[in-house]
Every structure is written in structure tokens, then in C-alpha cells.
């Protein structure tokens, strides 16, 4: 290293014929460094923190005490056991749509220009943003679990199974957040992203096994609920937390997650490159 702070690195690079590429390992390294930035920003923003703490609290209290009795036909305790895994899926799923909204504003600032003028993977700022949301989902799920336990929720599970459930929930949210990233890169205004994502999230969360058992639904709705990724993930979580089969809904959930990443990550990258040369 040069001794003077401002002196440029003048070591000559030989003229290569093959263009330089950023490999997979450096891409991951850059993405993680940027995820650290995102997580720090989140932890310093009290409003965002309040949002991911309050939303699960309100959802769980509302569904158990307001609708629980009516839906369950008089057994709130049994309903609590049923609905907690579902609300876990719903809240991380809803939290995952925030990313596109945040990126529309972040990508327009000079800092993204700086990242793109550096020799790092072009995808790193987007992947970093998706990974940074780990902390949001963790806070969200942590709040939910503490409240559920206080309310009397008693999962019949083991520590590894419970950790697997939490890991899968976060992976689920991250996979689906690529839709939001894509829309953020496509429409570029925070309000439109929010609106489009709400249209998408409502049928997915309510026409699912989150709140009611699909057996009571009309045939067509039941057919939809059976393939709905939110239902599949809710059933997977229930299974891992001690209530039902795991294998079949897990396979379905993983297929959805893979599908989301395979389709929407490249689309988001393409839209990002198109916006920014």
C-alpha cells in the first residue's frame, strides 16, 4: 500500500483480453456487506421497528379475541393453537412487501450510483436488501411467539423443528419479497408498489388455511387454498410445531419459494439494469 493517503494505486494492470467478471463468492460477500448496511439502517429507524412489532401484536389479538370465537364455534383455546402458525406466515408475508417500497426510494439516491460505479456485483445491492430484511422478520416472529406463549399457545415440538419452522418462514418471506423488489424496480413510485402488493397479498392470505380450515370452504375456494403458497406454508409451520403432516405442504412451499426466486430475481435484475444502464 502506498504511504500517502491520497496517492492513487498506480500499479499497472496488464491489458487483459477477457472481460473481468464478479464470481459467486464475491457476490455473496458484497451482498452480505450491504445486508449489514440495511440491517443497521433498520435498527436506527424507530418507526420501522414499531411497525414490525405492532403489526403482529394487533393481528394476533384481533384474530383470536375478535373473530376467534365466531370462527371456532366457541373454543378460543383450540383456535389459538390453529391460528398462531397461520398468523406467523401472514405477518412475515406482509412484512416482505415493504422492501419494494423502500427500494424505490433508496435506488433513486446517489448511494446506489456509488455502488454501481464500484467493482462489485450489480445484483449485490438488491440481494443485500432482501437479506437485510432477515432482521425485520426475526423481530416480527420473535414478538409474535412471545405474545402467543403469553396468550396460552403451547406448541408440541422440538427445538430443532421449531428452528426449522422459523428458518423456513424467513426463507419464505425472502423468496416472495422478490415480487416486491421487481415491482419496485418496475413502477418506481412507493405508493404504486404498496397498492399492487396489497392487491396480491389479500387473496393470498385470506383465501387460505391461515384463519379457517379449508374443509368448510366452497369447492372452488378449497381448490385455490390447496395450492395457495400461504396455505402450504401455514400447514408446513403447523406440522413442524406439532400439528399435522409436514412432508407434503413442505414440498409445495419449497416449490413456490424456488419458483419465486427463479422467476422474480432475474426479472427484478433486468428491470434494475434497464432503469440504470
Amino acid at each position: 500500500m502506498a504511504t500517502d493517503t491520497l496517492a492513487p494505486d498506480t500499479a499497472s494492470t496488464p491489458a487483459h483480453t477477457k472481460p473481468a467478471r464478479i464470481g459467486l463468492v464475491p457476490t455473496l460477500h458484497h451482498s452480505l456487506a450491504l445486508a449489514g448496511r440495511g440491517a443497521t439502517k433498520f435498527l436506527r429507524s424507530p418507526i420501522q421497528l414499531v411497525d414490525v412489532v405492532l403489526t403482529p401484536i394487533i393481528s394476533l389479538l384481533m384474530f383470536v379475541y375478535l373473530f376467534g370465537k365466531a370462527i371456532s364455534g366457541g373454543d378460543p383455546d383450540a383456535y389459538l393453537q390453529w391460528v398462531v402458525p397461520g398468523v406467523m406466515v401472514m405477518t412475515v408475508f406482509q412484512a416482505s412487501i415493504g422492501i419494494g417500497v423502500a427500494l424505490t426510494t433508496d435506488a433513486a439516491t446517489g448511494i446506489f450510483d456509488r455502488f454501481r460505479s464500484m467493482p462489485i456485483a450489480r445484483s449485490a445491492p438488491l440481494i443485500g436488501a432482501v437479506l437485510a430484511d432477515f432482521i425485520r422478520y426475526a423481530v416480527c416472529l420473535g414478538t409474535l411467539i412471545v405474545l402467543a406463549l403469553v396468550m396460552g399457545y403451547r406448541p408440541d415440538t422440538t427445538v430443532p423443528a421449531a428452528l426449522a419452522a422459523l428458518g423456513l418462514l424467513i426463507a419464505f418471506a425472502m423468496s416472495f419479497s422478490w415480487i416486491s423488489v421487481y415491482l419496485g424496480m418496475l413502477v418506481k413510485t412507493p405508493g404504486s408498489v404498496q397498492g399492487l402488493m396489497t392487491i396480491l397479498v389479500l387473496p393470498l392470505t385470506f383465501a387460505s388455511s391461515v384463519f379457517v380450515k379449508p374443509e368448510g370452504m366452497p369447492g372452488w375456494l378449497q381448490a385455490w387454498s390447496d395450492v395457495n403458497p400461504v396455505s402450504l406454508m401455514a400447514d408446513t409451520t403447523r406440522g413442524l410445531l406439532g400439528d399435522g403432516a409436514v412432508a407434503s405442504p413442505l414440498t409445495g412451499s419449497l416449490a413456490w419459494m424456488a419458483g419465486m426466486v427463479v422467476v422474480f430475481l432475474p426479472l427484478a435484475m433486468r428491470a434494475y439494469r434497464k432503469n440504470n444502464g
Binding site: 496517492a7 494505486d9 494492470t13 472481460p19 473481468a20 448496511r37 454501481r116 444502464g277
Partner: protein
Amino acid sequence: MDYAIRAEGLVKKYGDSTALDGVDLEVPAGKVVGVLGPNGAGKTTTVRILATLLRPDAGHAVIGGHDIAKDPVRVRQLIGLTGQYASVDETLSGAENLVLIGRLLGLSRRDAKARAAELLEKFSLAEAAKRPIATFSGGMRRRLDLAASLVGRPRILFLDEPTTGLDPHARQEVWDVVKRLVADGSTVLLTTQYLEEADQLADSITVFDKGRKVAEGRPGELKRRVGGQILQVRPSMPADVPQVAAILAELSGHTPAEESGVLTVPADEPLLVSAVARRLDGAGLSADELGLRLPSLDEVFLALTGHAPAAPDAEPAAPDAEPAAPDAEPAVA
């Protein structure tokens, strides 16, 4: 000659409007080239293309021996960019911003921290290192921004309007830093709206207008072409304007221009001021304003292109973005 930047025929269109219309640009290694022009001249578009942020519709460019289109990653390894808008993270501290960049450039955590501390010290930001950028003054932000583009010791530096919106003191600080960089051997492409800035920093100046290069040369050459200083007189009584204009024409040998009661005329020799003052005094005429100034950007443009500068972009300069230097009037009528 060894060129750090060589661009040929760069074209960029946005719909129907042409931002760049076939620009050639050459920057010799170790030199500072200033690109001077009003808003909308294509300065920022040029920098964004050369810094691999934007693809040109036509033309090509080679930076440090690497083609921007074919090998952008190697170009990015050589360059540093300081944009018009501070490209640092508001919620992070100064030190955190620089460490993040060091980490992204492959430094170990320890090396990134050491490099950040070194740069913060050098840019007189050490005391503010732990504060969030949101609390920084405009000049501090710009210095941090410069520091951020230097973490990787770039050989070629793009400074896009580095002092727009800064007060004269902060501007001087940025200039001092740039001068040190150049003394250390960096190649710099600087864009500016201020003639004085290009004059202070650049070895040669390229003038852009409406996406085209309209002139280039050393600052002294351009100044001679522009015609040196301007004598400016504002008669106290508007009714005196014709009489004062006649005196100016007689003494300077040029026909004065008049705009809202102010007369201007090229001052080929400095003694013109006292000659005019004596004549006005003798004729019993008084002036609220009488003095010499350097040509404004408008006048440079008028002289070089034969027309007034292109209208500014849709975003008018904020009041605090108005240059304070007397010779650097904004291109706003």
C-alpha cells in the same frame, strides 16, 4: 500521449431529446480536464456513461485501457465517482460509510477501518466520524463523498459538479482537496458550471452546450477568446443611460450592451475604469455601480457559441445553490 480517458462519438437520447450528440473527449493521464457548461449541456450524462452507469446509444470509450462497454468491471476497478448529489448513506456515520465501501472493495474489516480513519483524518472529518451524515454540513458531506470515492485509491476520478450548492468557504476546501489529489498523480475529469472552478483546477477546459462540445483549450486560451474582463456601469438615473452609453462606446471602442439599466462593455485594458469614472464625474453623471468583473458563464457562451446558454433543466437551482463568486453567475436570466 498516454490517455486515461478517451471517448469518441458518444450519443445519448432520451425519447426525442438528445442529451449527448456525438461527443469526443480525451483526458491525458495525470491531468485535470474540466467540462464546463450550463445545466442540460450533457456534462452529467457524459460522466455517467464514462463511469459505466449509463450505456451510450452510440460511440465508445476507453478508460485506463479498458472499454467501458466490453469490460466495465475493470473500468470500475480504476475509477472513483463523486456525484452531484452526495452519494453517502444518511443514517450511517461517516466512519461506517467509509468502512462499508472498504469492505465492498475487498479490504478486511481491520484494513477497512484503518483506511477509513486515515481518510477521515486527511479530510478533517475525524471529529465527526461517529456522527450520522444527516448532521453534517453541506461542505462536510461533500468532503466525505470525496473521501468515499478515494477508499479504493482510484487512478481516475470523476467529479461531477463537486461544489454546486456549496458556500465559498466549503468550495475552497473542496478545491484544496482536489489540488492535492492532482499533485499526487490522479487523473481527474471535473464537470462544473463555474468558469472560476475550471480555471482554478483544470489543465484544460472543454465547453459543452446542448450535448455538443463547442470549445476546448487551456483556461488562458479560452479567456483570451472570451475577451478578458467586462466593465459594468449602472447609472443612478435611468434617463442618463444613453449619455453614459455614448461615453462607454467612445472610451472602449465597443458598443455597450444594456439590460435593465446596466451597461456592460468589454474592458480590454484595466485603466478604462478610471477613465470612465473621470468622464462621468466631469459630465456631472453619477453611477450606483461601476467596476470590472470577469466574464460570466453567459458571456463565455455568448463569445464561444454566439448564443445564450441553453435554458436550465426543469429543476431550477435552489437559492442556496447560487454561486457566490462574482464571475460565476448562474445561467439564469
